[in-house]
Symmetry: C2
Subunit: 316 residues, 2 copies
């Protein structure tokens, strides 16, 4: 039987749970638990898998570390911090997954973390309107100084202090798509486009990193197109997409067509920066020819992949 | 014509020069200059190239950053810092190399940074005798406290303060060798085993990161064996290996056989932790069946690869 390909987008909770401090032990334990579910998909013999993941808390910590040491070590720009976080998280995933597969007699399956750049348009309107808060909190005074000194955009964040905000441009292409394709075609498990990828623009004919954050589900969707995935599986901390979220008539959705999803999106059912980009990514994937996209909770990954849990988004 | 394969091991000076502060701009400029030479090898049409590199200053900076933020962000163990540095440096190399090749009409060549674990023996005697200084300097008092608290080994470092020392075990195998092989066979340029790789041991049947530093040239040699390289090219900041270094009868070597190299090694001509592991790695590579190993300066990379510069180490 020809295997199908699934791109699995892991949410932040796959690596760090709410309330945890972010020690290595906590993160590795969570990743190990996640990898157990990914291993089941691999061991079923039915799926080739490609993994992508968020990096919010990890890149946030790297920014805090850079800030604390800024008088001793020159801080790196955000694109470089993103690259660091891909190494950090990819390493944990590849090691855990290898250990689990090896114990089940399949240590021979190659696993690769590919450091991934994602091309964005330098004229993307997001660059005029930075919205994504990153890094440490500052006093108003320091925030305004940084704004002047470094040209940062800063905003007051819900009474907790001032923070830098960066653009969240739309991903256009995975720069390393050919590398990823070669590996997938040669039966490797690939971890790629971590944290939405390292955002790069093309300027004067050259790729150049930019200080921005790409939504990891939208970048994962590009990845899914590039590897010709059959299914795009977005794992998060809720079991299904919901209409009228938080209202008395709240209703979970088991299955929706692209047309229904677009209608719900237009009606404003989905939270910006949270469920909205997931639904957008699901729509894009199916419209680009994918069989189905699924939005489900991490703990129901296998059932969701089998079509028995989560919200299935289909052509109609 | 069938292409030959070269593994190029870049020394620290390929990324950061002595006296530089380590800003991103400095590092990217150095990497770009290095990548220009690597690009020439690729564009000659004669070579498939695999790149490995050091990470001393970068992982040192990550350790300093972690230390400065330790009251806010839980520090990661050294293996994780190594993974971060592979992302950081790999990103700079892959982007620079792509930009240069693209300008020369070969932007189609896939380039991949592979996050790489390197297996070491948990019974390696190095674990009983840590020698490699890493991270920040401490006062004697703090150093002794860390020794007690975390089980670190600390030493007084040439009057500059106290530092942690970690083991430098011998690399046994590249865990991601199959991934790297697949990519090389499919005409990709691969960046792997950065900083000597992320050191892992096998314990209770599982891979597990350890706090250690593997010599990047010795790890590069394993990589060179794994990809069946014809040439192993070690680039550093001296033009050739020298006998009686620093003495009146100092003599550079253009060519030596493995037997000669072993004799010189036994006579103590080469500095530990510096030229010694390079010569050891060169010997191993040729003894394992490689055509030749070359130790040369970064600025003479092409001539060295052509056999016209550096110290050529051959079978005899």
């Amino acid at each position: 039987m020809e295997k199908k390909t699934v791109v699995v987008a892991l949410g932040g909770n796959a690596i760090l749970r709410r309330g945890q401090k972010g020690t290595f032990e906590e993160q590795l334990e969570n990743v190990y638990h996640t990898a157990e579910q990914l291993a089941e998909m691999v061991l079923s013999g039915e799926w080739r898998i490609v993994i992508t993941h968020g990096n919010g808390p990890q890149v946030g910590n790297i920014l805090l570390q850079q800030d604390a040491a800024k008088h001793v070590v020159p801080p790196m720009p955000m694109d470089v911090c993103g690259a660091e976080s891909q190494g950090l998280i990819g390493y944990m995933i590849q090691q855990s997954l290898h250990n689990i597969l090896d114990r089940r007699g399949r240590g021979d399956i190659p696993i690769a973390t590919v450091v991934t750049q994602v091309l964005v348009d330098k004229d993307d309107p997001a660059f005029q309107n930075p919205t994504k808060p990153v890094g440490p909190f500052y006093s108003e005074e320091e925030a305004k100084r940084l704004q002047e000194e470094k040209g940062w955009h800063v905003v007051e964040d819900a009474g907790r202090g001032w923070r830098r905000v960066v653009p969240s441009p739309d991903p256009k292409a995975i720069v390393e798509r050919e590398v990823i394709r070669i590996l997938v075609e040669n039966r490797a498990i690939v971890i790629a486009s971590g944290g939405g990828g390292i955002p790069v623009i093309k300027e004067n004919g050259e790729l150049k990193g930019v200080e921005a954050v790409i939504d990891k589900d939208l970048a994962g969707e590009r990845l899914a197109e590039d590897v010709n995935a059959d299914v795009f599986l977005i794992l998060t901390d809720v079991d299904r997409v919901r209409l009228n979220y938080g209202k008395p008539d709240e209703r979970p959705i088991d299955r929706m067509t692209v047309e229904e999803a677009k209608k719900y999106l237009a009606e404003g059912h989905f939270a910006k920066g949270s469920m909205e980009p997931k639904v957008k990514a699901a729509i894009r994937f199916v419209e680009a020819g994918g069989e189905r996209a699924v939005i489900a909770s991490l703990d129901q990954a296998e059932a969701a992949l089998a079509g028995k849990a989560g919200t299935q988004v289909v052509r109609g």
